[in-house]
Symmetry: C2
Subunit: 110 residues, 2 copies
DNA sequence: GGCTTGCATCCGGATGAGCGGATATGCGGA
DNA sequence: TCCGCATATCCGCTCATCCGGATGCAAGCC
């Protein structure tokens, strides 16, 4: 295996893919795709304790997938790079493809 | 939060993102992007025990990200949908962007 | 049928990730 | 300065995941 690719993939995993490995974090990214949101807003949107939201935001912030800006006492988070959501949309399209295929298969079996 | 999006994201996570949450699995996908490979070939490429490769392949197979075909005593795996690798490439581009930004920042600080 | 080869699965152990209540910190208003 | 709000971090806990050697299983050869 190409050592270069291996190192690159390790970086990719550590910096991005691992961050996408939790459904709540993906939801946060989609919520931010509509524009910046404060932690409180995200807490309401996701309907989980605030500490949980902050913990997930920390993961996303450390990987620079989101960026934070303080406005008075509130902190507004926003997407750093929309391409992350685009990639997720691509994966969603793949998912629909396989789901459709499974449905097809199930119909054929019946 | 839109319940529909929430369900969709849960599916996306369970079926795809979780499968991308391990660097070895990402490497397998990239290896398969060059064409079908047998388990033995992947074992050599990744340089890990065969049981480990088979375990990861099982995860990818269950999510239908790869498909298996038996040729005699060997099993050849191939990518089900190239778009998965395309999405990974997009994320790689994002990664390079943030890495460049960090380098820039580090230079500015020195 | 016995053997080899290639792959899948089982198992116990170690590590990591998520959780959410409690608490700390930072900021603006009175 | 003291208070209150918004957010961040700490803590102990539970659960998920990965690992790799050992073992099971299918297919072809003799």
């Amino acid at each position: 295996m190409d050592e270069r690719l291996e190192r690159e993939v390790n970086l990719l995993h550590a910096n991005i893919c691992q961050a996408l490995a939790d459904p709540k974090r993906i939801l946060i990214l989609y919520a931010l795709a509509d524009g910046p949101r404060s932690v409180g807003e995200l807490t309401d949107t996701l309907n989980v304790p605030q500490s949980t939201v902050s913990r997930h935001l920390k993961v996303l912030r450390e990987r620079q997938l989101v960026s934070a800006a303080r406005y008075g006492v509130a902190v507004h988070y926003s997407l750093t790079d929309r391409r992350v959501v685009e990639a997720l949309d691509t994966l969603r399209a793949v998912l629909f493809g396989t789901l459709a295929q499974r449905a097809e298969l199930a119909r054929g079996l019946s």
